[in-house]
Symmetry: C2
Subunit: 156 residues, 2 copies
DNA sequence: CGTGAAAAACCGAACAA
DNA sequence: TTGTTCGGTTTTTCACG
């Protein structure tokens, strides 16, 4: 929230988004400022909550999860906010889950998972989604390609 | 690809996924090894491609993009691989785009965007998606909540 | 493969401008 | 707000177990 970023902060943010381990010295001479200035700004960005964290990106295939899928989920019409909250909280704790989107639109949720193979997809849907009373239907799509420009912070 | 990780590598990967700026010393005593050992393993994980990078997570709202959406896209039945490749390559370069999923299923693509407001959503869809000859239809859903457990590497 | 020690690089804070 | 200096920390390499 709050006020926009100045052009220098925008460059810092863009650079750290691409390489979160860039040193202040590297940032400094990519931008043309002194390292200490960059340091001050980076810390300010973190303190302000513009940068919410730093994370390693993982090749899921190398972790034995070579198949990814997106599952659209619709809840029963009667589902109340409690069951929506419960659904979110519980689904996001499952280790195969990479992201959870709570939507307004045709589907109520999108769940992005990475698993070992197609039978693990089926198991995931059956065990964790269809098994829930609040879930009305699911629609599974396999992911053939995936591209990420940025890492978005969690929000609700 | 390739061989599974041993339990120590798995812990390193989990810790760096949560905090990509943990120092080797911090990793070392979370795990019970010497910092130099941890360092060697982290570098090996990066060299092997298990860890594909480190990235700052950004509060999109703080960047003036307080509204996120997912847009399901279907291409014309006649769309050939060339136009699919072109679509992916061009869409992912648009700055509002956070992620692009190329799917097998009902939709051909999912595009995750962060923009300023709802009129920017409409503009995005009209200018960048509907305007394309290869796009048959789009279905936009606003994102009310978003949760991320991990950062997945790009793949195709 | 893991360790400890040594060298280089880097960070973070204090201060000056 | 930016630049400079400096002590402490972190990274990185390497010889050894």
């Amino acid at each position: 929230m709050s006020t926009e970023l100045d052009p220098i902060d925008e460059r810092i943010v863009a650079l750290l988004s691409a390489d979160g381990r860039m040193t202040n010295a590297a940032l400094a001479d990519a931008i043309g400022l002194a390292p200490s200035t960059v340091h001050t700004r980076v810390r300010a960005l973190v303190d302000r909550g513009v940068i919410t964290g730093f994370h390693a990106a993982l090749d899921q295939g190398a972790l034995g999860r070579g198949l990814q899928a997106v599952i659209g989920v619709t809840l029963r019409p009667g589902a109340r906010q409690e069951s929506i909250r419960a659904f979110t909280q519980e689904v996001r704790r499952i280790p195969e889950v990479i992201q959870v989107f709570f939507l307004g639109g045709a589907d109520d949720f999108l769940v992005h998972i990475a698993v070992e193979d197609s039978s693990a997809v089926r198991r995931f849907v059956v065990d964790h989604l269809s098994a829930r009373h609040s879930v009305a239907s699911t629609r599974t799509s396999l992911i053939f390609e995936y591209h990420r420009n940025a890492v978005a912070a969690d929000f609700d």
